[in-house]
């Protein structure tokens, strides 16, 4: 399949097309047309009906139907309601939201105004990471421009609807991407999740009904309103209509931001769009959903991407991080990497996430250091599932996924670490050693000269020796040896 057919840009349609600092560019691509259409030819209920029928689901990860969220917020009785945009993108390696905000800020403003009209809110807040200075700058500029043209603020386009937007800067806590933590943070409190229910659509920011969606979700809205729900449904699958943006990273040749229709097989993304694995090696697994997701092994690469299929494989759509791994990646190490992240980013409010994730991490660390017992593998699975079962918020409920999914699909690799004290990928330092093969060594001195801790000795044209006590297992000798005379094991 050619790349032409593979990528369909709905959310990203203006990224890399318009000048994001110029509102005329956005208007030239029919920007704010959807807002005008809604304000002057649709009732709020019709807007919600359109979003519902489009089947759009939350692009932040969980995939909750957006229209139903809006409908609940609309039905909640209150004088004050809020529209929030979750732009606290925190998954390692994910940058979909940043690109959208930087490349097409007006699209988000328009969508939030549409949402405000639909649910009956007059105030919106974009919660954006302070670490995204360019996104912040473009958003601020866009808000000023839209206000100057009467597309935001009081009496939009001369009508009765008023909507005011402001920014709130996140300080980099991963958990603030969880919607209720985000609201606590906006209220000046500690970034900690609240118990749900009540859901934000009933009682959210300052206890007022609040609609909160992710950046990419909003990015789809203006086009759904402008082109109709039937138009949107021609893309994607029955249960997951539309497209999804992924930040493609890892061992593929062409890393970048891709947008594909839902239902596209993983293989298309990796082989056609991503240009295959670097160095012609073999794909081993694909990690989707960031720290909340799981690792999908290569044999499942033909799985179509949609919310249910990914969940069925113990992973999740997540916000759209996609990291491709090859044989040089240790799956235990990957699980440990993600768990290190979530254990550190846990807010500490509930027991399973605060202590449970730490204990999981300790088990994984023991395994990667060759101190694991076979019993640990079962306990890892049991504890991981109990954390999923009992944690308070989405962060905790999904944090064991990387460990559980790698254990499920790569149990042999775990067993190699535990039983044979061996890391098949050769990346767990404590389980790796380097040895010079006497029959292959030519005494060229390349290894000795490149060793950063000078622990290789030997005369010219004589067999060299590694001082194992001083070796830091960096692997430089292994990669530099021109004669493949250094064995790793």
């Amino acid at each position: 399949m050619s790349e032409k057919a593979a990528q369909v840009r709905i959310a990203l349609r203006n990224c890399g097309v318009i000048d994001p600092e110029n509102i005329s560019d956005y208007i030239a691509t029919d920007g704010y047309e959807a807002l005008a259409k809604a304000l002057f030819s649709m009732t709020p209920d019709e807007v919600i009906e359109t979003v519902k029928k489009s089947g759009l689901r939350g692009r932040g990860g969980a995939g909750f139907p957006t229209g139903i969220k809006w409908e609940t917020a609309r039905k909640s009785q209150s004088d004050v309601k809020y529209v929030l945009c979750n732009a606290d993108e925190g998954d390692p390696g994910a940058f979909m939201d940043r690109s959208l905000l930087e490349g097409d800020p007006h699209c988000i403003l328009e969508a939030m105004a549409l949402c405000g009209y639909a649910i009956g809110a007059q105030e919106g807040i974009i919660y954006v990471r302070a670490e995204y200075p360019l996104a912040v700058k473009h958003l601020q500029l866009a808000i000023r421009q839209a206000e100057a043209l009467g597309l935001l603020g009081d009496n939009i386009l001369g009508g009765d609807f008023s909507f005011h937007l402001s920014l709130y800067f996140g300080a980099g806590a991963f958990v603030c991407g969880e919607e209720t933590s985000l609201m606590n943070s906006v209220q000046g409190g500690r970034g900690e999740p609240r118990i749900k229910p009540p859901f934000p659509a009933v009682s959210g920011l300052w206890n007022a009904p609040t609609n909160i969606n992710n950046v990419e979700t909003y990015a789809n809205i203006p086009q759904i309103i402008r082109n109709g729900w039937e138009w949107f449904r021609q893309f994607g699958t029955e249960k997951s209509p539309g497209t999804k943006v992924f930040a493609l990273a890892g061992r593929v040749n062409n890393v970048g931001l891709v947008e594909v229709p839902m239902g596209t097989p993983l293989r298309t993304i990796i082989e056609d769009i991503g240009g295959g694995i670097q160095g012609g090696r073999r794909c081993k697994a694909v990690q989707t959903g960031g720290p909340s997701g799981g690792c999908i092994p290569a044999e499942h690469l033909d799985t179509p991407i949609d919310y249910e299929s990914l969940a069925g494989l113990g992973s999740m759509m997540g916000s759209g991080g996609m990291i491709v791994m090859d044989e040089g990646d240790c799956m235990v190490g990957i699980a440990k990497f993600y768990l290190t992240f979530t254990a550190e980013e846990s807010c500490g409010k509930c027991t399973p996430c605060r202590i449970g994730n730490r204990r999981l991490l300790e088990m994984l660390t023991r395994i990667t250091e060759g101190e694991g017992r076979m019993k640990d593998l079962d306990e890892l699975d049991i504890l991981g599932n109990i954390i999923k079962d009992t944690a308070l918020c989405g962060l905790g409920m999904s944090s064991p996924n990387p460990a559980i999914s790698t254990l499920r699909f790569f149990r042999d690799e775990y067993e190699a670490h535990v039983r044979d004290k061996r890391c098949p990928a050769g990346t767990c330092k404590k389980l790796v050693g380097y040895k010079i093969l006497e029959d292959k060594c030519m005494g060229c001195t390349v290894c000795a000269r490149n060793c950063p801790v000078s622990c290789i000795s030997g005369a010219r044209k004589k067999v060299h020796v590694i001082d194992q006590k001083r070796c830091v297992k960096c692997g430089v000798c292994h990669s530099k040896c021109p004669f493949d005379a250094i064995a790793r094991g």
Binding site: K4, G16, I18, D25, E102, L151, G158
Partner: protein, 131 residues
């Protein structure tokens, strides 16, 4: 800027300003206009897009190309090929260049803008499906 107070006002605004945007809309009067869109999202900037934009501008100024302008656009999505520039000319399909160096940037201005030749080494086979 005056506030738009009706749906028609929005439509009028679009028609009025469309020709001045970087999009080379239908109805473009100046058939010679060239727009160089440099990917200056964070990813592009990190890869050196600012320097490329400066180089392009210097070269345009040096050659006195009055019809050419540079805009900063968002992320093209091809991180592996950053920095990137898209050359837009009315009535012609866009040409995308990637893996840009300052030298390549100067080549693009001289060869593509002045002589209408592609800078083959840097052309990226990009076609974007925007429904």
């Amino acid at each position: 800027m005056e506030k738009l107070t009706s749906w028609d006002a929005l439509k009028n605004y679009r028609e009025k300003t469309c020709g001045q945007t970087s999009l080379l809309c239908v109805g473009e009067q100046d058939a010679n206009r060239v727009v160089l869109a440099v990917g200056e999202a964070t990813c592009g900037v990190a890869a050196g897009a600012k320097k490329i934009a400066d180089t392009l501008q210097e070269e345009i100024d040096r050659l006195g190309l009055k019809n050419a302008s540079i805009i900063a656009t968002g992320c093209f999505g091809y991180c592996y090929a950053e920095p990137m520039v898209e050359v837009r000319m009315p009535g012609k399909p866009s040409v995308y260049y990637g893996y840009l160096t300052e030298e390549a940037a100067r080549d693009i201005v001289v060869k593509h803008l002045v002589h209408g030749q592609l800078v083959e080494n840097n052309v990226l086979p990009v076609e974007v499906n925007i429904p």
